[in-house]
Amino acid sequence: MPPDPPAMLTLEDVRFGFPERPDFLGPVAVTVQRGECWAVVGPNGAGKSTLLKLMAGLHPPHVGEVRLGGGLIGKLSIRQRARQVAFVPQHVPVDVDMSVQDVVLMGRFPHRSLSLFESPEDREIARRAMEVTATSGLVKRSLATLSGGETQRVHIAAAITQQPELMLLDEPTASLDLQHQLAIFRILRDRAWYDGLAVVVVTHDVNLAARFCSHVLLLDEGQVASMGAPADVVTPDVLAPVYGVELATLGGADYRWIVPADDPSGGRR
């Protein structure tokens, strides 16, 4: 048997902290393969966004190694890294008076070093990215005029235009309605399935994570509480102690939904 190709992303006993909290995160060890879609879930302040930035190479780990396709991510120049990893932050300034077309084309930045304007191939790549994110109808609109769901899809289109092998997204569905939440998770799952991208998405919605992602990583106070297939992680038994609420399962064999099982009166007896 030929040896397995190196995993897309490997974190080996990574630890990270801030001056005021030196032991904030870790140790975390995780391996993400091409074609996998990972959800990182956990309570607020568990270190989800920090873990994502370590994966993106935006923070260097204090201990341990982050490897990208077998090589250390810290050894790459930031432009080389940007050709392989796309990152969609949680907060992007919204009052930018640029057309959607230009914002999506900006994803080509790491691939073009000298030319000031994009080539026809760049435009074709951007056109396809806008097609799969259903943003083709917005090309002429200014970014400042879009709704939350549209803005998020545009930034994802730009990330796809970057043609990365690894795509990282920080709460892309926060403050979006149900329809847009579903649309965005569908886009991410399809990129992993059809394009073989490795996708890691931080989210608060454990049910969407369970339904669309191939793997779930549950963080609790900077530690990995559980990780693996959704069926093993997204269960009341695993989640309840981490979130500190009672949980119950609804639904049948096709879909199971985790819901809070708190006293419906909210304690006002």
């Binding site: 935006l58 932050p89 930018v96 930045f109």
Partner: protein, 375 residues
């Protein structure tokens, strides 16, 4: 809707280039005595082309002996005067263009770098520092020139650099260009410089005070070609660095995190741009005084017309800035003549200070553009 059609941006930019070029070409003919000296006469005299005496018949100021014909002596006098006019006006136009381009480009850059639409090239205290330096030089009576640079300009340049350095020292703890600490430090140093300038004014005599007030109003006067050219080594780096950073600045607009993830070295971009802009703007202030509004009004006007893609916005701002300041210079030269003619009095000064004109012309234009955007 005031926005131009994106497909025609190249056409509009080309139009701006043509307008700027035309303004530069005809500028030697604009000003006092333009009835006698057309711009083509001035160019012909400067370039040593033949001017026939009979072309000049009937021009005021030329036919001195009033015999109805232009003699050899009068023709020679005309050519000599035309050359003087060229030497006086053309470098001034080039300076106005340079200053307009620099202030507009640095205005765009500072608004983006600080992520603050109210940032101007003077936000870091360059104007206040430069003014304080200049006022001290006037008070001390420094008039010597070193390597062809007036000590007044050198003092203003040094003052600007010292104050910017002090602002960065004060805000050192925050480490971020977009932080409030940096802006507050800039405002505080500006107030401190204002107080010091008042102090310097109080301990100066009347003649010095007058010179100080005139300096503060900004001026494109008393400029030789070499003085304008001496500014280029400080201005050109800013023009070049900003233009080649246009795509990186676009990414920077979308936040530090996204820009870094896309392969922009944010700290290097900020450091580089602030350095070249500071030097360029300090050079402007040192030579011309604190000319206001150009660095605020031109970038906003250009953005309203061309959008905020830096690849278009930067050249558009530069062209509009250069054009704007040349036009303001014309107004400053012609306004006093017109005012004198209209009121029938001899007004105190031959030209209106350029800083007054940029404010008088710039503010209404900006208000119109702003109102057009609200609609």
């Amino acid at each position: 809707m005031i926005r131009l059609d994106p497909r025609r941006y190249a056409l509009w930019l080309g139009g701006c280039v043509v307008v700027l070029f035309v303004l530069v070409v005809i500028s030697p003919g604009v000003g006092t005595a333009s009835a006698s000296f057309g711009w083509w006469d001035v160019w012909r005299a400067q370039l040593g082309m033949e001017i026939r005496a009979d072309e000049l018949a009937g021009r005021p100021l030329v036919d001195i002996d009033e015999d109805g014909s232009v003699s050899e002596v009068e023709l020679a006098g005309f050519v000599e005067s035309a050359r003087l006019i060229f030497a006086q006006r053309f470098p001034r136009t080039l300076l106005a263009m340079q200053v307009g381009i620099t202030l507009a480009l640095c205005g765009v850059a500072f608004q983006i770098l600080f992520r603050n639409p109210l940032a101007t090239p003077y936000t870091l205290g360059i104007a206040s520092g430069g003014s304080l330096g200049a006022l001290i030089a006037i008070r001390l009576g420094l008039v010597a020139a070193i390597w062809g640079l007036s000590s007044l300009a050198l003092a203003a340049f040094a003052g600007a650099i010292v104050v910017v350095a002090a602002v960065f020292m004060l805000a050192r703890g925050s480490r971020r260009l977009t932080s409030n600490e940096l802006l507050l430090a800039g405002v505080t140093m500006g107030l401190f410089c204002s107080a010091m300038m008042m102090l310097v004014t109080v301990v100066s005599d009347q003649r010095q005070t007058f010179a100080m007030v005139r300096w503060m109003m900004g001026s494109l006067d008393a400029i030789t070609t070499i003085e304008g050219a001496m500014l280029l080594p400080l201005m050109l780096p800013a023009w070049v660095v900003l233009m080649i950073s246009a795509r990186a600045l676009n990414q920077y607009r979308l936040g530090d995190e996204l820009a870094t993830a896309r392969g922009v070295s944010v700290a290097r971009l900020q450091g580089m741009c602030v350095l070249v802009c500071t030097l360029a703007v300090a050079a402007v202030v040192a030579q011309c005084g604190p000319i206001g509004f150009v660095g605020l009004v031109v970038p906003h006007s250009a953005a309203l017309l061309f959008g905020s893609d830096c690849r278009i916005l930067l050249p558009a701002s530069a062209l509009i800035g250069g054009t704007f300041l040349i036009l303001c210079d014309w107004v400053s030269q012609l306004a006093m003549r017109f005012g004198g003619w209209a009121t029938g009095q001899q007004l105190g000064s031959a030209t209106l200070p350029i800083g007054v004109v940029t404010a008088l012309v710039g503010v209404p234009i900006f208000l119109v553009l702003l109102k057009a955007r609200w609609k």
